[in-house]
Amino acid sequence: MLIDIRELKRGYRMGEQEVWALNGVSVQVPYGDFVAIMGPSGSGKSTLLNVIGCLDVPTSGFYDLDGIPVAGLSRAALAKVRNQKIGFVFQNFNLLARTSARENVELPMLYNALALRGKALHERAETLLGQVGLGDRMLHTPAQLSGGQQQRVAIARALMNNPPLLLADEPTGNLDSQSTRDIMNFFKELNAQGQTIVMVTHEDDVAAFAKRKIVMRDGKVVS
């Protein structure tokens, strides 16, 4: 099991009241799965994604990622887990401005202790950019790329450290329908090659590309 979440709770204090964004969630994602997490806003899907992504820590419950119990880890240890186990794709791409596509793709490797350096690093970045169809735009900066192209740079970046899990937060939310289809087809292709993908979306036609859906409401998994 790549993701094994049991009875997870995440609460926030709103004045006197305790609000449960996640109220006893259990989710299992085996290796090679492609899951779409859906639900209306406020359903807790973003919080779940943050916890899965080791950006947020649960108030209680268990979470094993790739065999590592991550629930009680320090900030530095979580950073290492994110670096090596997870590749992030965001709705707004989050590329570094005024920085070439290749440099953006190389970024995760800079924080990887066992990393490639120098020429080997460039070569890996170039290979990944080739895979996402940007082999001819490696030295372009984000401002010189379209939204779809920027998201493809971000996907190449997410794959840099060869993480077991690709985590996407509304990856097509800022894209036109053509780019959306391109990105989702690429995701499907990656999944076919064995890449596990967990994706948050609220669009049914995007979720249709996944193998299965998890629907959330009021901090609980409803189906």
Binding site: R82, L96, T99, L107, L110, Y111
Partner: protein, 408 residues
């Protein structure tokens, strides 16, 4: 993330914002430049004072006649004619291990005439050891000899200013000019000494044998001497030499116990001390100015780094999401601040050196850029960067990645 990587990431971040980086470093640049320039000018002034003091003579001590006291009224130093040539000679004889060389000195002066030129200057009568005592060689020709002193020969050596004004710069060796109608033959020209610390032209001078000046120019007056000049073997012997000299002069002048000295011994330490105290005061002032400048520069860096952290919140969030530990973020921003400050320091040093040279050239001031001031400025600017960069870096490292990624 190793040191090299942190360095690279910080450098890239700075290069992405070249103009802002430069503006941020500006405070440090001008602070360091001001320090380097002022120190260079101060060092130049103090070294020129020191070299002038040194140029006065080789471990020199001077004895002047005592102050004149007539009916309770004190005259100036040297007003009383009490010194004799033999006073110094007996000092040299009795303490050869203290005194290296000695010359008495009498002063006179007057209008000197050569062909159609004339010039007013001072004439000093001395012994040949004057050359050793005042560390003053002849550049051309030769100095007069002991025989010239014995025979009161009408010969002299002259300073460069006299050569320029009386001989229009032509070689004066062997020529004869007149002082108060007495002909003097020029044996040599003294090497150029320039102006002393009081602004006096030291090369405006005629040096003649002691006896010649006494008998021919100061005709008829007593065999009194204006000054005794001694050169010591070493400055360490100064106190001992002054003590022995004072005892010997009191004995020779038959001064009873309790009677005031009829002579004054002066040495260069007082002048040196004054110069040193002025330069150390300058140093303190400069240190104060420097710390204020660096403080302002450092606050500038902190300010911009805080802005930069806010502006780059999403970048911080992204870096954290892809695996940057809080320590890596802290080090990145700290390195950026330190690099900014260090870079500012280097530019400031360059600017300061050029500035000092320029100011020195425009005003004719000597300028000395010391290695110490460069090294200290450099070290200080990096320290300022680390010190003032720490708080913004700490803030960046404590940010929550989720909030950062959501930040608009």
């Amino acid at each position: 993330m190793n040191g090299m990587m942190i360095f690279k990431v910080a450098l890239r971040a700075l290069l992405r914002n070249k103009v802002r980086s430069l503006l941020t470093a500006l405070g440090i640049i001008f602070g360091i430049a001001a320090v380097i320039a002022v120190v260079a000018i101060g060092e130049g002034a103090s070294s020129s004072v020191k070299s002038q003091i040194n140029a006065m003579g080789d471990n020199l001590i001077i004895v002047l006649g005592g102050s004149m006291k007539k009916g309770g009224v004190h005259g100036g130093m040297g007003g009383q004619q009490t010194l004799m040539r033999e006073d110094g000679e007996s000092m040299l004889r009795d303490y050869p291990d203290l005194i290296k060389a000695y010359t008495p000195l009498v002063r006179s002066g007057g209008q000197i005439i050569y062909q159609e030129n004339n010039w007013s200057t001072q004439v000093q009568g001395v012994m040949p050891d004057f050359v050793i005592v005042r560390k003053w060689d002849v550049a051309l020709g030769s100095f007069f000899s002991d025989a010239d002193v014995r025979t009161a020969a009408r010969v002299c050596v002259i300073g460069q200013t006299v050569v320029d004004n009386l001989f229009n710069g032509a070689s004066p060796i062997g020529e004869t000019f007149r002082i108060r109608n007495i002909p003097f033959r020029v044996l040599g020209v003294l090497s150029k000494k320039g102006t002393n610390s009081m602004g006096q032209d030291q090369d405006d001078i005629v040096i003649a044998p002691l006896t010649t000046v006494q008998r021919v120019l100061k005709r008829g007056s007593f065999n009194n001497i204006d000054q005794l000049l001694f050169s010591l073997h070493s400055m360490d012997m100064l106190d001992e030499a002054k003590k022995q000299l004072s005892a010997l002069l009191r004995q020779r002048h038959r001064l009873a116990e309790g009677v005031e000295d009829d002579f004054t011994i002066i040495d260069m330490t007082e002048i040196t001390e004054m110069a040193t105290s002025i330069s150390s005061l300058m140093t303190i002032l400069m240190a104060v100015v420097a710390s204020i400048a660096l403080l302002v520069g450092g606050i500038g860096i902190m300010n911009i780094m805080l802005v930069s952290v806010t502006e780059r919140t999403r970048e911080i969030g992204l870096r954290m999401a892809i695996g940057a530990a809080p320590m890596a973020i802290l080090l990145q921003f700290l390195t950026e601040a330190a690099m900014l400050a260090t870079l500012g320091g280097v530019l400031g040093i360059v600017l300061g050196v050029f500035g000092a040279r320029l100011v020195g050239q425009l005003n004719g001031w000597p300028v000395v850029v010391t290695m110490a001031s460069v090294v200290i400025s450099f070290g200080f600017s990096s320290m300022v960067g680390v010190f003032f960069g720490f708080y913004p870096a700490l803030r960046a490292s404590r940010l929550n990645p989720i909030d950062c990624l959501r930040y608009e």
